[in-house]
């Protein structure tokens, strides 16, 4: 029977150890205080049980010293928990720059995954062991949450924005993927597997199916189909801002503020172009909300990232005619 009774989840990511250490610390503190209270209650209840019906207790009303003690000690302990917890959380929420990126879209009730090289999968995610992986995530409909217990991490996908999470798998194997945020009828069927592979095996798997071209090239096709280049020309003659080398730069806005052109900025500029108008341009761009689905948005963003001198060279990204100036 006990083979069927796991008490502790597998550890398969860099975080797992950190989170578990924190967990054990809290268990130790909790066990100590629970047992202390339980013991005191039981001992007092027996030691001072009522012996005659008319008996009353001792005339004790309180003690400032004790009150201070059990205010300050818990305060100190919880602050240790806070600092330690925040430390781990910062790690969890700050992907390293060198992380490889994978694009995830949640949809009632499946997870759709696109690798930059073009390989797509549904309800499965293949990742190499020992390499930081950053997920860029969106949703077609409601809130979902991408949860990998063995990695001790999860993050919500929220309609109207892109969210990110990251991890570094540490042990090859097959691990559960769950949707953790209730999303409707088949919420509990929105599950899948994380396949952690040795790097070589992962490369082999990755090259297994790129018939549709890379993410960026699909983004480029979309870019042309939607006629984006009529305004966003590579030289500054277009009616829209130049996109080459844009990603990661600071963009001055008309209202005097600046914004970093990250994935969420690009996404917002496509679906809600009026939200942030670049300095020196007119608010002419129509919204593309409803015209592009979430996967298409991710492809466009992947494409825009490859544009210009600053972009990391992706070998599968075909040369952009306009960028050959």
């Amino acid at each position: 029977m006990f083979q069927n009774l796991p008490l502790f989840p597998a550890q398969a990511s860099g975080f797992a150890g950190d989170v578990d250490a924190l967990y054990f610390f809290l268990i130790a503190v909790s066990a100590f205080f629970s047992l202390l209270i339980a013991l005191l209650v039981i001992v007092f209840a027996i030691r001072y049980r009522r012996r005659t019906p008319g008996e009353v207790g001792a005339g004790i009303t309180g003690s400032i010293q004790l009150e201070l003690l059990w205010t300050i000690v818990p305060f100190g302990i919880t602050m240790v928990m806070f600092v330690w917890g925040a430390w781990v959380y910062f790690d969890l929420s700050r992907p390293p720059r060198a992380a490889m990126e994978i694009y995830v879209v949640g949809k009632q009730w499946m997870w759709k995954v696109q690798h930059p090289d073009g390989r797509r999968e549904i309800n499965e995610l293949h990742v190499p062991v020992g390499r930081p992986v950053k997920l860029l995530m969106g949703t077609e409909d409601v809130i979902h949450s991408f949860f990998i217990p063995a990695f001790r991490t999860k993050f919500d996908v929220v309609p109207g924005k892109l969210t990110t999470m990251w991890f570094e798998a540490s042990r090859p194997g097959r691990y559960h993927l769950f949707c953790a945020e209730y999303c409707g009828t088949k919420h509990s069927a929105m599950i899948g597997w994380i396949e952690v592979m040795e790097p070589a095996a992962f490369q082999a798997w990755l090259s297994g199916g790129t018939e549709e071209g890379s993410l960026a090239s699909r983004g480029q096709k979309l870019f042309n189909d939607l006629a984006c280049q009529t305004c966003h020309m590579p030289d500054s003659k277009g009616r829209g801002p130049v996109l080459d080398g844009l990603f990661g730069k600071k963009v001055p806005l008309r209202d005097g503020q600046t914004v970093v052109a990250d994935e969420n900025y690009l996404r917002e500029s496509i679906v809600n172009p009026q939200a942030k108008i670049v300095d020196g341009y007119e608010p002419l761009m129509p919204t593309f909300q409803g015209l592009i689905n979430e996967e298409g948005l991710l492809q466009l963003i992947a494409y825009i990232r490859t544009l210009g001198p600053q972009a990391p060279a992706t070998k599968t990204a075909p040369a952009q005619p306009e960028s050959q100036r």
């Binding site: 029977m1 069927n4 502790f8 989840p9 950190d18 989170v19 924190l22 809290l26 503190v29 629970s34 209270i37 005191l40 007092f44 209840a45 001072y48 049980r49 008319g54 008996e55 009353v56 207790g57 001792a58 004790i60 009303t61 309180g62 003690s63 009150e67 059990w70 818990p74 919880t78 602050m79 928990m81 806070f82 330690w84 917890g85 925040a86 781990v88 959380y89 969890l92 929420s93 409601v142 809130i143 949450s145 949860f147 217990p149 993050f155 919500d156 929220v158 309609p159 109207g160 559960h176 949707c179 953790a180 945020e181 209730y182 409707g184 009828t185 919420h187 509990s188 069927a189 939200a275």
Partner: protein
């Protein structure tokens, strides 16, 4: 059959259904509420039984997934809004608060009755929504699922919750005004029983928090029915704004449930240890501290909802701070037992149970306030276990303990003590067997609201379901003997426990005006040290 005429009391003062339905007596209204919340508790419990039956096996084979989703939604809605929030304030608080401060009634008796009708009207809409096919959004109603995607009776349920909110507001308003303006001569703030303090604190949350959930569900209703688009990303709306507004009420709502229960425990510990509550002032201010800090921690429900990392840090540290007044209370109750004269009557067993279960519930709350750990356990069964330790292990233990303690006063009859002790034990064992395994299965990664689950989680789920059946029996036993005692129980005297407090100075059951003449208070609550106590 001739019986000696019983003295006049609030129960035999008038006869007939209308004398109950139109009553303005806070004690009768408390009984109306008692009947109503018991029915809702039974209904919510029925949903829980079906949920636990479904989860006996990993495959979703008992009911369809949408049915399952409706079951946990309605379990949550009924238990939270129609049982846990009203249970202690509207039943025990309503009955006792005026008596404890030496008043003839609450400040606004008509509003008090109105609040019961509003409660029933809200309940009617919610039941209508259920009979008409149910609702499947989870009791949290997250947008845009609730506002756009769900095709179940979200709007009707929303109306039900909106209406019920007003009954909660009116109860809170009534309590606050009563405590401020209706205290008997000599009843100063620091002579108030801690039950009154904690109800005062809970009332502050009711009046400050409930309107926010009211406007929030109203906006969801408007989005669905009137096609506004306030939470709809298609209009540039933000689903996470809904979560902020929702938890601004719904986190403090947990304190509406637990604070009155803490008040009950303070009374029980004092009465059955026959001793001053240790650190009275600290316990009283801890209630206020919880009420105030409780409003500043809602963001800890959104650590993985794309809220900023820095907001997360602030909400985390504030969540740790709110744990401290709770810890202070637990330590003070424990210290009260020291050198007491402790009896092991059934209400005290519930108090012991409360202290243990609330300690575990509170400490596991620290796991959730810890940012790095929250990410893993968020939306898993760990959370489910945690809040059931607080809401069931805390609130319901306190509610049952209080009901046993004051039953002689409410009904004028004694319940069978042996059965009551047995039931308290069954509830304690059943509760732990139900919910402790859920901590483990939660850390293993089983997400909440799952209709079907991977096979390796089955053993723990079977344990949980087995515990639930024991727990269910534990709740049925008191129901049977309370009803039995109303007819067959021995008459209780004015003060069967030998306890202190204005409610034990008057006859059982009390007369309609509570007091023949307004009492003059000359000592603090729990002045047990003056001589022996007599059981009357």
């Amino acid at each position: 059959m001739l019986q000696p005429a019983r003295p006049r009391n609030y129960i035999n003062a008038e006869y007939g259904v209308m004398s109950w339905l139109l009553t303005r007596d806070h004690k009768r209204i408390a009984l109306l509420y008692l009947g109503a919340v018991t029915l809702f508790f039974a209904l919510g419990g029925l949903f829980a039984v079906l949920i636990r039956l479904e989860l006996l096996t990993p495959a979703g084979d008992l009911v369809q997934s949408q049915t399952y989703n409706k079951l946990f939604t309605m379990h949550g809605v009924v238990m939270v809004f129609f049982f846990l929030i009203p249970a202690i304030p509207a039943v025990l608080g309503n009955f006792l608060l005026p008596i404890m401060i030496g008043a003839k009634d609450l400040a606004f008796p008509k509003l008090n009755l109105a609040s019961w009708y509003i409660f029933m009207a809200g309940g009617f809409f919610t039941l209508w929504a259920m009979i008409a096919g149910g609702v499947d959004t989870g009791w949290t109603f997250y947008t845009p699922y609730s506002s756009v995607y769900s095709n179940t009776n979200v709007a009707l349920t929303g109306i039900g919750i909106f209406i019920t909110g007003f009954s909660s507001i009116l109860t809170g308003l009534n309590f606050i005004v009563t405590v401020h303006r209706m205290r008997a001569p000599g009843m100063t703030w620091f002579r108030l029983p801690l039950f009154v303090w904690s109800h005062y604190a809970a009332s502050l949350i009711m009046i400050l928090g409930t309107p926010v959930i009211a406007i929030t569900v109203l906006l969801v209703f408007a989005d669905r029915v009137l096609k506004l688009c306030i939470f709809d990303p298609a209009c540039g709306g933000d689903p996470v704004l809904f979560q902020h507004l929702f938890w601004f009420y719904s986190h403090p709502a947990v304190y509406i449930m637990i604070l009155p229960s803490m008040g009950v425990i303070s009374e029980l510990v004092a009465a059955f240890a026959r001793k001053n509550v240790f650190g009275y002032t600290f316990v009283a201010f801890a209630s206020l501290g919880i009420a105030v800090l409780g409003f500043l921690v809602w963001g800890h429900h959104m650590f993985v909802s794309s809220q900023s990392v820095y907001a997360g840090m602030i909400f985390s540290i504030l969540s740790f701070l709110v744990a401290i007044p709770s810890a202070v209370k637990v330590f003070n109750w424990t210290a009260t037992l020291y050198k007491g004269s402790i009896s092991w009557d059934a209400p005290m067993l519930y108090a012991f149970g409360f202290i243990g279960l609330f300690t575990i519930g509170g400490l596991t709350g620290l796991f959730l306030a810890t940012l790095g750990l929250n990410v893993h356990v968020h939306d898993t069964y760990f959370i489910v276990a945690h809040f059931h330790y607080i809401m069931v292990g805390g609130t319901i233990m306190g509610y049952l303990g209080g009901l046993h303690y004051w039953w002689p006063k409410i009904s004028g009859k004694l319940y069978p003590e042996g059965w009551a002790k047995f039931a308290a034990l069954v509830v304690f064992v059943g509760f732990n067997l139900t919910f402790f395994p859920q901590f483990i299965v939660g850390y293993l990664g089983m997400p909440r609201r799952y209709h079907a689950y991977p096979e390796e989680f089955q053993v723990l789920n079977v344990m949980s379901s087995a515990g639930a059946s024991i727990l269910g029996v534990g709740y049925l036993i008191p129901l049977v003997y309370f009803v039995w005692s109303m007819r067959y129980g021995r008459n209780a005297g004015a003060n069967p426990w030998g306890a202190k407090g204005l409610e034990w100075d008057i006859q059982s059951p009390p007369i309609t005006e509570n007091f023949h003449e307004t009492p003059v208070v000359t000592e603090g609550a729990y002045a047990y040290t003056r001589g022996r106590m007599d059981v009357v």
